[in-house]
Symmetry: C2
Subunit: 297 residues, 2 copies
């Protein structure tokens, strides 16, 4: 595995692969790799000839009050993971490499999609994601890009970015990985103390209950579930059923593709989770919960 | 010459050229081609194996009060010009092709550069330019892109965009072409009536006078020249000497790369012009006025 820090060297290496008509898969991450990331890398390894993983804790997607400085970093451990998974190139650019002109940076936004849900509680966050993804996709020029469904809004926004910019990149949304308790894996789970960790399990249970029992009266269900979570001290930022096409909130389900999504503060840690829910013409409900790690063993 | 209307067909054609390792040159235009455009095409023809010209009157770069609907269009004449100049591909996408999702479009901005000079008087204009150029450059993926120095701020902003997005595209700024009177060629010159056409000549004369006689006391010169132009009824939006690196206004010149630039309303027609002025370490002044058409014959 080659570890590359500069855009120039990376582009040169990738152009060699392209000349050989090899299919390049790209997994953009912020490091602190967990099994969720590993599954993205494995999927890329399956689908592509060459796998490029980037680790870049993107300052542009953190708000001034957020956890940019505390965000877990462990390049030694991350690079060992990548090596074990036969990653070909690990791209670890510095901030200066990605944002050489800090004071006058480009702004990219998608107001209709970036100000809802997480965007409402993290103003500017998705603009930062759009900027770094536009840069990374132009740098790596992959055939396929692998991202997790856990960050559902991000996945939908990047999909729209790729279409808007007419990039010839296949975006592959990979299943959310869950601990045995159902808690969605996240680099931020390390922030949770024992008590918070216990409460965090309720988030997934909420999605499970609504999606399996209460889809018919979604507004009542959401109000009830929010109040339950608040009762145990979780602060719910949103709990919504949205249309995956346009992120519009939905109160009555018909045939379509939806995302039941939640963000809640558990202590000072912000956790998000979602289920992708598809309803076909026959009214059959298909729920994509992702994968529980115990079911994989 | 092939005339192509869709992104899919264009990408397919261009990928054939790329497989043959041919150098692709791209000239983005809004049509109403004049000698200024022709010189861009000729330069692309000289430097590249394949020349792609686009004609797209980009609605995103026109303000609500501006001349989108009146903007001169003559595809028959334009395509004849391109044919004569041995253009390989003329790309004429519809609005729907470039902006399939009109209501929720991506926004791209570069606040430090897009709100000054022309950006101040045409709010949103450069955001529209950035958006369409990001799209077109990703669609065509040229080796070189040819744009006129006449739209100096646009050239500088697109240069910064290409660097910010790490696109491997050489941006070639081509000289402003001028009529025998010195008036910079522009598709908008057709809007001028005879009297306005006479007054429009004063714009270039102003740049000439300041750059050759008054660079040492630029603030006084600018104030005096603005008042002269206003006296004959031209409404000067700006007349500034700016640093080409950062578009900052400059009141005292030293070694550096500058742009003396002007925008003025002549009747209801908005005209712009500029001289690129370089001052070397020895204090020698090099003025790039572009080319007068009479000097070419």
């Amino acid at each position: 595995m080659e570890i590359i820090e500069t855009i120039g060297v990376l582009k040169k290496e990738i152009s060699k692969f392209r000349e050989q008509d090899l299919k390049v898969g790209f997994v953009p991450t912020m490091g602190a790799l967990h099994d969720g990331h590993i599954s993205l890398i494995e999927k890329a390894r399956q689908d592509c000839d060459v796998v490029v993983v980037s680790i870049f804790v993107n300052p542009a997607q953190f708000g001034p009050e957020e956890d940019l400085l505390q965000y877990p970093r462990d390049l030694g451990r991350d690079s060992k993971f990548c090596e074990e998974k036969n990653v070909d190139i690990l791209f670890v650019p510095s901030g200066y490499e990605i944002y050489p002109t800090n004071d006058d940076a480009l702004h990219i936004s998608f107001p209709k999609y970036t100000t809802r849900l997480c965007g409402k509680f993290r103003p500017g966050h998705f603009d930062g994601v759009l900027l770094v993804m536009t840069k990374l996709l132009n740098i790596v020029e992959p055939d396929s890009c692998f991202m997790g469904k856990k960050d559902g809004q991000q996945l939908i926004i990047v999909d729209k970015l790729i279409k808007e910019l007419n990039l010839e990149i296949e975006l592959v949304g990979c299943p959310t990985l869950r601990e045995a308790t159902g808690l969605a894996m996240s680099s931020r789970n390390v922030y949770l103390n024992e008590e918070e960790y216990g409460k965090a399990q309720l988030i997934n249970q909420t999605l499970e209950r609504i999606s399996t029992q209460q889809l018919n009266d979604i507004e009542t269900a959401i109000a009830k579930e929010i109040s339950k979570l608040q009762d145990v001290g979780l602060i719910v930022q949103y709990l919504e059923l949205v249309d995956r096409e346009n992120l519009d909130s939905v109160s009555k389900i018909e045939t379509g593709k939806y995302m039941l999504c939640i963000a809640a503060l558990c202590g000072s840690t912000r956790l998000i989770d979602n289920y992708f829910i598809d309803i076909d013409e026959q009214g059959e409900v298909k729920i994509d919960r992702g994968l529980r790690i115990d079911s994989l063993k």
